[in-house]
Subunit: 151 residues, 2 copies
């Protein structure tokens, strides 16, 4: 009987220790990609919303950065078992792995929108604004389906 109780206790201890993001370097790596996206979207979104003065060179640099960052291949950044139900330190919902084709499609939409911003970033605010709006829309489309609310 003691043996069985010990076994159950060990089982519960295991359950009580969630996996941590540092055990899955891919989590920090894909979050690194999002950090770089934020670094550049902050400038472009700020210009589109009038909080940052439009500057053609700054806009173009940010758009070039976004092009390069969104070209990073995703295939090794989302291994199974790195969702928010399995690991602490990520907001990636299990729905990603249940709808991988749709998830990948939403990333391709981000890439296309980033290309479109890159093509017009230096052409003035009136041209930049709708392109940045479309880019922000691709972020939102993915987040509302595949990212948990901030905890």
């Amino acid at each position: 009987m003691r043996r069985i109780v010990f076994g159950a206790s060990l089982f519960l201890t295991t359950l009580a220790l969630p996996a941590m993001a540092q055990d899955h370097p891919e989590i920090g790596q894909r979050q690194g990609q999002f950090n770089l996206i934020v670094h550049n979207f902050a400038v472009l979104g700020g210009m589109a919303q009038g909080r940052v003065d439009y500057d053609a060179a700054l806009a173009q640099t940010a758009a070039d950065n976004l092009f390069h960052v969104t070209r990073h291949d995703q295939s090794r950044l989302w291994p199974e078992g790195t969702d928010a139900q399995s690991v602490e330190g990520t907001r990636a919902l299990p729905a990603i792995w249940e709808n991988l084709d749709d998830f990948v499609g939403k990333f391709v939409a981000l890439q296309t929108a980033a290309e479109n911003v890159q093509a017009v970033a230096g052409d003035g605010l009136d041209t930049l604004r709708p392109a940045v709006g479309a880019l922000g829309g691709t972020c939102q489309a993915c987040h509302q389906t595949y990212r948990a609310e901030a905890g």
Copy 2:
């Protein structure tokens, strides 16, 4: 007198609270770039050192990723006051800001080395190995001068 003592106490309290990395989003953003470099260098370095089987497609994808990640402009990622003496959560030494031209030159060397890896990644291990070695050398050259030891 009480007023002076209070003032001194407030001053000491301020000194005792180091700035934190989360007050400087650029720190997490530039670390994001390094996280992505590690993501890809792990594959290429593993192949060069025989720990990962050579796979031309995998090597090329990792090299393409490194090309794009190292194209990200550095100009807004290293604001003054985000060194390891001023802020917790970064290993960036103050020497960076005292030798900015040299620091930038070392980043340009990384970009060139990444381009060279990209050009040969699919051409077999014998060609890949020296290019990856040179790339690793550019990482080391910067780290030994401008990055604090892990704490």
